[in-house]
């Protein structure tokens, strides 16, 4: 049983116009076995939260903390965070020319586990996971994400999720740009990983569509760098009907932060 705890997190970025605060005090606790959905309009800071947890150098944490089972995540380098059990499925996975998928997957698995995977079972695992996500076998010969379509890139992110078996998976708008079939395939992959029982999931999304396939235990509404509302799966249904307008400044709805979901 693991716990990822985010406490009063403030994050800013450097822009040409100066420093801009994006996260203005975010607190969240995720435990193994839980699925949390973070929903919010564009520009609310959802993706910043994901990238900050993973340690992207663009984001500066000005105050607050992130801990994984009590260990200070903010003290860890990007690769250390991954080895500690955090996994970020990226919104826009980059193409890495010159590095084959086979080589990449094996190198990453070796780094995360601290030892090389047994060749025979590893090859079999990769093949099986690819088949379930309906990724063509010849992808292993291609360079990381090179020439993959948007949907293929997302599937390959989930392939990594299934193979690396993290303690916490952060899915940054994994559903965006997917057609219904791809969305189902990707969601099934996340559910398979989740059902093994050793993972907590933070699902960041703009739309409620993916929540038909991945059932959240908690839904947090993110507006202007803060969590302004939280609840169970039923909150997602309400967002589906009403949108985010009611949370807009001046909309007349109380937007005081709800109590932390503990």
């Amino acid at each position: 049983m693991s716990t990822l705890e985010i406490k009063d997190l403030h994050v800013s970025i450097d822009t040409e116009q100066g420093t801009k605060e994006i996260l203005k005090g975010v607190s969240l606790i995720i435990r193994t076995g839980e699925t949390h959905a973070i929903m919010g309009p564009n520009g609310s800071g959802k993706s910043t939260l994901a990238s900050t947890i993973a340690g992207h150098p663009r984001y500066n944490v000005t105050s607050g903390s992130i801990t994984l089972d009590g260990e200070n995540v903010l003290d860890m380098s990007v690769d250390e965070r991954a080895r500690a059990g955090l996994f970020l499925a990226m919104q826009y996975p980059v193409e890495v020319p010159g590095v084959s998928m086979t080589n990449f997957l094996r190198t990453a698995k070796t780094a995360i586990d601290g030892e090389a995977p047994k060749l025979r079972t590893w090859t079999k695992d990769v093949k099986a996971a690819m088949a379930q996500l309906r990724i063509d076998a010849d992808f292993t010969q291609r360079n990381v994400n090179e020439g993959f379509s948007g949907g293929e890139k997302k599937r390959v992110e989930i392939l990594q999720l299934e193979l690396f078996k993290p303690k916490f998976a952060i899915l940054d708008e994994t559903d965006s740009g997917l057609d219904v079939d791809a969305l189902k395939v990707v969601s099934e992959g996340v559910n398979r990983a989740h059902d093994e029982g050793n993972m907590g999931t933070l699902l960041i999304t703009h739309y409620t569509r993916i929540l038909r396939y991945i059932k959240p235990d908690f839904v947090h509404v993110f507006v202007e760098g803060k969590i302004v509302d939280q609840g169970g799966a039923e909150l997602a249904d309400r967002l589906e009907d009403e949108g985010y307008d009611r949370y807009a400044p001046g909309a007349g709805v109380a937007v005081a932060p709800a109590a932390a979901a503990e």
């Binding site: 990007v78 690769d79 991954a82 080895r83 980059v94 020319p97 010159g98 084959s100 690396f164």
Partner: protein, 427 residues
């Protein structure tokens, strides 16, 4: 990923921050190339001396370049010439100005059965059969070499292994060297020019690929840090010939290669590949010329380079000319540079001249990118430590060229050499 270099300064010429007429197109840079100039090599003089172009071809055309066996036909270099503007002449150690009377690097050839290897004098009829010097250093080498090595693959002979030509330098006195490689009709062979040791040498390599012959020439430069090497490697391709040329430049203070492929019969194919890895202070230059003078030939050029360290400088200039007669030509050239640290400089100039529209295809591309922080983030976010991530990327980047060599022992040796270069960047 592509970055356009704003900086126009040339390494080696700090007092002269700009070069007149410097443009990304790389044409008409030097005043002596313009027709208004009264310089001895300009305007009409260029045409008069040209063996390829002649009347009606503008001076800016690659076809109009002076070619001659005589050193005296080439004016002393000033560094302003289009084809020398990137080269630090001071570091040429006299290859462009001195009589090359030093001892040429020792040649030792291991050849499989059936290959004819001869050492011949300057008067041998085969000398000059494939090449005419195109620049002053090449002409200087031509005037000064004392004996030439001629390697012949007999007609219809299929060589059973590669022809290893060890070229081992043992001193810094400026010297001249000459090779002639002839692949007779329908023969097949791989020749490896393995340049090592310490040398200051200007070299001419003439390559004749006769009808239907398949020849691969691999030129490896693993010189010591103080060596200087200028090499003109000119290939003449007959009907249906298949020629593959691979350059790997790793060691040397200044290495300047000018490979060319000239089509003289239809149906021929040329592939020109290159890999260079420039470290701090190294100048690695390659200037290519593919001359589509006849119809229905194919060419493909790919050079990839990695640069690291202060004043590491790589230059790639690729000239492809599709003459009016060369209908049905299919050509592509590309250069990719990966800049690994601050302080390195890559110049890349792809030139494509097309004189007929009746071609199958013609393309050129160039990209110079930094090792991207987003690549690094992606790999590290999967648990891969920074050092390992960098190695993964560089190894993968350069492996595309190494894998073209198809001589396992050589591929292994070069992979290890690249690993050593990579390890050096971590110090």
């Amino acid at each position: 990923m592509t970055e356009i270099t704003e900086e126009k300064a040339r390494i080696g010429a700090p007092s002269q921050p700009f070069i007149n007429g410097f443009t990304e197109e790389g044409e008409n840079l030097s005043p002596i190339n313009t027709s208004e100039s009264k310089a001895p090599l300009a305007g009409e003089a260029v045409k008069a001396h040209s063996h390829g172009g002649g009347v009606g071809i503008p001076d800016s055309s690659r076809a109009g370049r002076l070619t001659s066996y005589k050193l005296a036909d080439f004016a002393p270099l000033t560094g302003m010439e289009e084809d020398w503007r990137f080269t630090p002449l001071k570091r040429l150690r006299g290859l462009h100005s001195d009589v090359l009377k030093g001892t040429a690097p020792a040649v030792d050839i291991t050849a499989p059965e059936g290959i004819i290897v001869e050492t011949v004098g300057r008067d041998d009829a085969r000398i000059g059969s494939a090449a005419i010097p195109e620049d002053r250093v090449s002409a200087n080498a031509w005037e000064n070499f004392s004996e030439a090595t001629v390697i012949t693959v007999p007609e219809e002979h299929q060589a059973t292994g590669e022809i290893m030509v060890s070229i081992e330098g043992s001193g810094l006195e400026a010297s001249a060297q000459h090779f002639v490689i002839i692949a007779k009709r329908f023969s097949k062979a791989v020749v490896v020019l393995d340049h090592r040791g310490t040398a200051v040498v200007a070299e001419n390599v003439e390559i004749l690929v006769e009808d239907g012959a398949q020849l691969t020439v691999i030129s490896l430069q693993e010189w010591t840090d103080d060596s200087v090497h200028a090499s003109s490697q000119q290939a003449k391709l007959s009907r249906d010939a298949k020629f593959k040329h691979i350059v790997v430049s790793l060691g040397g203070d200044l290495v300047r290669l000018t490979p060319s492929a000239r089509f003289s019969g239809p149906g021929a194919e040329a592939e020109l590949f290159g890999l260079y890895y420039a470290d701090a202070g190294q100048h690695l230059e390659q200037r290519l010329f593919v001359d589509h003078a006849v119809p229905n030939c194919k060419s493909n050029v790919l050079y990839k380079g990695a640069l690291q360290g202060r004043n590491a400088h790589a230059v790639w200039v690729g000239d492809v000319l599709i003459r009016k007669e060369a209908e049905g030509t299919d050509t592509y050239e590309a250069n990719r540079n990966l800049v690994l640290t601050d302080g390195a400089r890559a110049d890349s100039v792809p030139n494509l001249e097309i004189e007929t529209g009746l071609i199958a295809g013609a393309g050129h591309a160039s990209a110079t990118g930094r090792f991207d922080d987003e690549h690094l983030f992606y790999l590290m976010a999967r648990g891969i430590p920074e050092k390992v991530a960098r190695r993964l990327v560089v190894r993968g980047f350069l492996n595309e060229i190494i894998s073209q060599i198809k001589v396992p022992a050589l591929e292994e040796r070069l992979t290890e050499a690249v690993e050593r270069e990579l390890a050096a960047s971590e110090n």
